[in-house]
């Protein structure tokens, strides 16, 4: 990919630049983080004129590599104040890559507040136009209109009303293959950054695009075959395997059985209603209700794992895509809700308003802990979600996430790190994921060092979840993940490449094929490590210290049932992660 598109929202101009040599061998997270580090002052206000928002497909996106259609979205995050990369599947990354665009950098800020623009990108160039007719409405209403106007085959990257209102739980939405507003680069409030730039949507039309050049086709094909074979062989990623059959929510019963399924705002580690929101039940309901219901749905072109689903209403018509692990947990168990029709409706509202489902669910859990609703009250949870959609004063408090909500209502039990809500793994019961939450460059984020794999899932050797010496494991996973996020592959290939060595080699060889490099698997880990170190330097310059690399205090004194454990990993171990 040979071009970078720079969009200046202050003077409403666009220009294409050649990719500088220093960015030639990177993509995805490696590129968005490099650009953020080079161009964004670390102490800037995330919603001010000096922050920049970068979109980048991965090195391997649109090359024919399997499951490699991720779009990275990076900049400084309003939720955390840290550097951020959050990525999504969907259709847009593939189309940007086919247009030979390695990144879009959005900078500046329009003088006129509350006015929005739309950026159209195609083979002939890029163009900004007023977006008045597309703003202020739900995305399920807006997306069909955008397709009607720009053609059914375009890719759409957009924000919902939450992003327009600069709420810190606003995500960036990408359409799925059927045009739903359902795939989110959700974390960190990057939707609010897009809103602060006055950018409502990017329309990507790849018709006539040149495609991605591959330097060494033989090396690429060898790598692609190795990785594809590994994905087809591994029990978790293969066709008819766990992810394909049950979706990510297969984890509900496992993590619940492990006593690490955060329940009712992280009060307990086991939820009595877990079975009702499990992957097995999702699969069974799709079959029973029939209609449009399906598991094994793919969210982006070329995905061979296909972990997504379309969940039907009782009459077989569509409720939502997709009921995945994090969403059925945050909007389900964490709020004490055990009904997939309710979680489905809440996920649909998140998609419609443009919200991160993890932050939204954990925030409602905190609100319930504060007494705004009873745990388990689905009706009230839906009402609270509408407050966010309507932008009422209460909606603005909730829309700014779990930490703001906890502070507003005096809730001490606030499950966040660096301002970001924790995902669906209890760190008191799975110590290593707590190390990652504490020390990731992104705030509490399971995807930045998925130590669950060796701790619970039996991938890549086995670790005891209760031991505390997890610094090295977390560090290695954070490095490997940073590289993976740079390739454009979906993180879910990790199961196969951690267990099957030739799969990991295959991923690196694919990159060598596309870029003409000679990287080894050791180089991949080193490159990932360099990315993490660069991100950490940004955070340090933004004012973060080791004191920020900690879990919330309540986890050190509140015992989590059923194991009745506190978080007892010593601070010295946490400090060792990035200072070995």
């Amino acid at each position: 990919m040979s071009k970078i598109l720079r969009v200046n929202m202050t003077d409403l101009t666009t220009k294409f630049e050649d990719v500088p040599e220093k960015y030639r061998l990177t993509g995805g997270r490696g590129l968005t983080s490099a650009i953020t580090c080079a161009e964004v002052p670390p102490t800037c206000h995330p919603l001010g004129p000096n922050n920049k928002l970068t979109f980048a497909p991965g090195i391997l996106t649109a090359t024919g590599a399997p499951t490699a259609g991720r779009l990275s979205v990076g900049g400084k995050a309003p939720l955390t104040g840290t550097i951020k990369e959050t990525n999504a599947g969907g259709m847009a990354a593939d189309k940007l890559a086919r247009l030979d665009i390695k990144a879009i950098i959005v900078e500046g800020q329009p003088k006129e507040k509350g006015k929005f623009w739309l950026l159209k990108v195609d083979k002939d160039g890029a163009q900004l136009m007023p977006a008045d007719e597309w703003t202020g409405k739900g995305l399920y209403e807006t997306y069909p209109k955008l397709f009607a106007k720009f053609g059914k085959d375009v890719g759409i990257i957009s924000i919902g009303v939450a992003g327009e209102r600069l709420m810190a739980m606003a995500g960036v939405c990408v359409n799925d293959p059927e045009g739903r507003p359902s795939r989110y680069a959700g974390r960190g409030g990057m939707g609010a950054v897009m809103g602060s730039k006055g950018l409502k949507a990017i329309i990507v039309d790849d018709k006539g695009g040149s495609g991605v050049a591959i330097a060494n086709k033989d090396a690429f094909n060898t790598g692609r075959k190795k990785l594809t074979d590994a994905l087809r062989e591994h029990a978790i990623t293969k066709p008819g395997g766990t992810l394909n059959t049950y979706g990510t929510a297969a984890l509900v019963n496992v993590i619940n059985e492990a006593g690490a399924f955060p329940t009712r705002n992280f009060r307990e580690g086991r939820f009595e209603g877990a079975s009702k929101i499990s992957g097995e039940t999702i699969n069974e309901t799709c079959k029973k209700r029939g209609g449009v219901g399906m598991t094994g749905h793919r969210c982006s072109p070329g995905c061979i794992i296909q972990c997504s689903n379309v969940y039907p209403k009782p009459d077989g018509t569509e409720l939502v895509s997709c009921q995945e692990y994090e969403s059925v947990w945050s909007l389900g168990a964490d709020c004490g809700i055990d009904d997939l029709d309710v979680t489905g409706e809440l996920i649909r509202l998140c998609n419609d308003y443009g919200l991160d489902t993890i932050e939204a669910g954990v925030t409602i859990g905190v609100a319930m802990d504060a007494g705004l609703a009873k745990f388990g009250d689905g009706k009230k949870a839906i009402e609270l979600m509408h407050e966010i959609g309507k932008g009422t004063p209460l909606g603005h408090i909730l829309g700014n996430g779990a930490e703001v909500t906890a502070r507003t209502f005096g809730v001490v039990r606030c499950p966040t790190v660096k301002g970001q809500a924790m995902p669906a793994y209890e760190p008191r019961a799975i110590k290593g994921i707590g190390v990652t939450y504490a020390t990731s460059t992104m705030g509490a984020d399971h995807t930045s060092g998925y130590t669950i794999a060796p701790e619970i899932l039996g991938v890549s050797g086995k670790l005891d979840p209760f031991t505390v010496e997890k610094a090295e494991v977390s560090r290695n996973f954070q490095y490997a993940t940073a590289f993976l996020d740079t390739t454009g592959h979906c993180l879910f290939i990790a199961f196969a490449i951690l267990d099957i060595a030739s799969g990991f080699e295959g991923m690196v060889e694919e990159c060598n094929g596309v870029l003409g490099t000679n990287w080894t698997t050791d180089d991949a880990t080193r490159i990932g490590g360099d990315i993490v170190k660069m991100e950490r330097a940004f955070n340090e310059a933004a004012g973060f210290t080791k004191v920020d690399d900690r879990l919330p205090e309540f986890m050190k004194y509140e015992k989590l049932p059923p194991h009745n454990v506190v978080y007892d990993v010593p601070d010295a171990v946490l400090d060792k992660v990035h200072n070995p």
Partner: protein, 84 residues
Amino acid sequence: MVEVHLYGKLRRFTDNLDPSRDSIILVPHKPNDTIRDIIRRIGIPLEEVGSNLFLNGEYSPLERKVEDNDRLGIFPDDMQMIIV
């Protein structure tokens, strides 16, 4: 008694096949029982059992000793687990 929670295709060893409810079977406990012994006593073929075995919520090997009143969770081989 050992309280055994079965998932996926292993639910057929209990009287509940509905995945939205827990599939539980109570197995009499004998001294020195291991997880493997309990699995045998239920009659589950070992090749249908995956690596996800949880004794009182702790990820455990087949050889681990089981005490009376323990809770044991068993996932089948086609339900090896995941992410996000």
